[in-house]
């Protein structure tokens, strides 16, 4: 039995991990220095969720993928130029902050409202995907709140694998403590999956996919709904970089025997 799923992926943008980040105080709370100038990428775990969604849609004929993304419109546009070449999806854009200092509850409310407003949404076919944590706020909380708002109580986090069984049930592998996976069987959609790394490599850029996607990406960006995340009730006393710099001792001229001895003594200490 093949089910045509409606797969909605929640994913925003984060600063390129190679960039140096520095917190600064802004009138609206903490922010990153030169935040709008920092090159951005699709949030890595959300990216895995998107690639898994596209793969599932390819294997389940009739399925469709949406990417619901909350971020500053201009930055979203930049990132979509690349992401849109990876896999087919329809963008639903929300114009607002993608800062790590925003509140998960407010972000979840905006995302859930955007999902609920997708025309023709059929909850019996709905799979909501996202990263299990962002690389910005890193809360691991937003997706669960989105699910609650949509009335989805079959939720899974740290997902590395989803298999659709012949009877339409879903087998899901979630990361748990100690390098193990919990295996669960869910009767059917709707379900919400916060993805970890999954099993798929990042798809290569495909300009043809990009051309098709851009037909909907640009209009979606143009009509992106302004979304204010006020951070109500939340206040930061401080945000600071850790005092992480160590005085690195560089050992260059020791023999392998001496280094090995040094390491073993250190391990045993």
């Amino acid at each position: 039995m093949s089910t045509a799923y409606q797969i909605v992926v929640c994913g925003s943008i984060v600063p390129d991990p190679l960039q140096t980040l520095e917190p600064v105080a802004s009138p609206t709370g903490p922010a990153l220095k030169n935040e709008m100038m920092l090159p951005a990428v699709l949030d890595p775990w959300a990216g895995h969720a998107l690639y898994e969604a596209a793969n599932l849609a390819k294997n389940q004929p009739g399925s469709k993928v949406w990417l619901v993304s909350l971020g500053p419109k201009a930055k979203l546009q930049q990132v979509m130029m690349t992401v849109a070449q990876k896999v087919p999806f329809e963008l639903v854009a929300l114009d607002g902050s993608a800062s790590g200092f925003t509140d998960a509850t407010e972000t979840a409310a905006a995302l859930a409202d955007a999902i609920a407003a997708i025309p023709g949404l059929d909850k019996s076919k709905l799979l909501v995907f996202g990263g299990w944590e962002s690389a910005s706020r890193g809360a691991g909380a937003t997706m669960q709140m989105v699910g609650e708002r949509l009335g989805i109580v079959d939720q899974f986090q740290g997902v590395d694998q989803l298999t659709v069984n012949a009877d339409g049930s879903l087998e899901i592998l979630e990361r748990i403590e100690g390098g193990k996976h919990q295996v669960s069987k869910c009767a059917s959609a709707p379900a919400l999956l916060g993805w970890a790394t999954g099993n798929l490599p990042e798809p290569k850029n495909n300009p043809q996919v990009g051309m098709v996607n851009m037909r909907t990406v640009m209009p979606a960006l143009q009509k992106a709904k302004p979304t204010k995340l006020a951070g109500e009730g939340l206040s930061f006393a401080s945000v600071a970089l850790p005092k992480q710099l160590r005085e690195t001792q560089i050992v260059k001229d020791k023999s392998p025997d001496d280094i090995a001895k040094d390491i073993v003594e250190w391990i045993k200490k």
């Binding site: 890595p44 708002r149 069987k185 790394t197 050992v251």
Partner: protein, 347 residues
């Protein structure tokens, strides 16, 4: 006046995990610093009496529980109902829970259900002048923030390993059982098992003293112009066996498999440390054949003493990220280390 609820779940054997005792320690300290506050414990599991008894000497004044076969499973729908029921019975304003995979899955959703807020990966909780503040990390452990909230209930997920454990001994806990009604809709998901490597193949050991990280250099051509994957595999596995270290990896090494290159077969994304991997807590870390770039080393935030072996004296580790950088060939060093460890094992 705050009512602090410590929410715990039992393990498969009916005990409480160390992380639950850490959460209890954080909650008890908070309770002590908040005049007039109440401390309550809630436990969920198939059978919870022995777990509650094991912490009966805690400062908690009341114990609530939800029990039954359905709560042996780590499942969102039933755990959410149970947590909500205990919260309501306790009339809690602050909920402190260990950020285990089970609670991390469900508690943010419970906060939504209760109209409250949730903060996860909390590494510190404090109170001053009646005001509670928590600290947690942002941008994958790159910066630390201290925050406070006015909303209640406020759920705090305490990062395992970030606190000391409560020093509360056993006794007999009087538990008030909270009834919950489970509908069929909450049982659409069934936990069918746990998938894990065989005991001798398990390389992720959260309780190990040492984290041993392998980088992509292990799979690259060596001085003789050849790759030495079988030798690398043997050296790494021998070291893990002898040292009982936990194995971590750089992203580039675990990604190699997806790119069709030869790989170290015992590594998976579960071993990955860094921006898109884990941030484990170990007393010491030894990195080998890894350049120590920022996206990887953010995963080392909670590693105490750090040493690295790399052929490049200008690699990332040299820039204040390691305590000691050995500029040397990891193949040679680790072979000698294994010899020494084997010798030590015989004596």
């Amino acid at each position: 006046m705050e009512t602090i609820l410590v929410l715990a779940h039992t393990e498969n054997d009916g005990s409480l995990a160390k992380s639950a005792r850490e959460a209890l320690h954080a909650a008890a300290a908070l309770h002590k610093s908040l005049a007039g506050s109440k401390l309550i414990v809630g436990v969920i599991g198939e059978n919870i009496q022995s777990a509650a008894n094991s912490i009966a000497a805690s400062p908690a004044t009341k114990y609530f529980g939800v029990t039954g076969a359905e709560f042996s499973q780590s499942r969102y729908a039933t755990d959410a109902v149970a947590a909500e029921a205990i919260f309501k019975a306790a009339q809690a304003t602050i909920i402190v829970a260990p950020a285990t995979s089970r609670w991390a899955r469900v508690l943010p959703g419970v906060a939504q259900r209760l109209g409250g807020r949730a903060d996860t990966h909390v590494t510190g909780v404090a109170a001053a002048d009646g005001k509670i503040s928590v600290s947690r990390w942002y941008y994958r452990q790159r910066m630390e923030g201290a925050l406070t909230r006015t909303q209640r209930p406020w759920i705090l997920g305490i990062d395992p390993g970030s606190q000391t454990t409560c020093n509360c001994g056993p006794g007999t806990a009087v538990i008030e059982m909270v009834p919950v009604n489970l509908t069929d809709a909450s049982k659409r998901t069934t936990v069918v098992g746990i998938r894990e490597p065989k005991a001798d193949a398990q390389t992720i050991r959260p309780d190990a003293q040492l984290l041993f990280v392998t980088g992509a250099g292990w799979t690259k051509k060596q001085a003789d112009g050849q790759t030495h994957l079988p030798e690398a595999e043997k050296l790494i596995l021998d070291f893990l066996k002898k040292s009982r270290a936990s194995l971590g990896s750089s992203k580039s090494l675990v990604d190699i498999g997806g790119e069709g290159q030869a790989v170290l077969p015992f590594l998976s994304h579960l071993n990955q440390i860094g921006q898109t991997g884990a941030t484990p807590r170990h007393a010491k870390g030894l990195s080998t054949c890894c350049h120590g770039e920022e996206p990887h080393t953010v995963g080392w935030r909670f590693i105490g003493e750090r040493r690295a072996i790399n052929l490049d004296p200008n690699c990332g580790w040299a820039r204040g990220k390691a305590d000691v950088l050995y500029v040397a060939d990891a193949f040679k060093i680790m072979a000698k280390v294994n010899e020494l460890l084997a010798g030590a094992g015989k004596t």
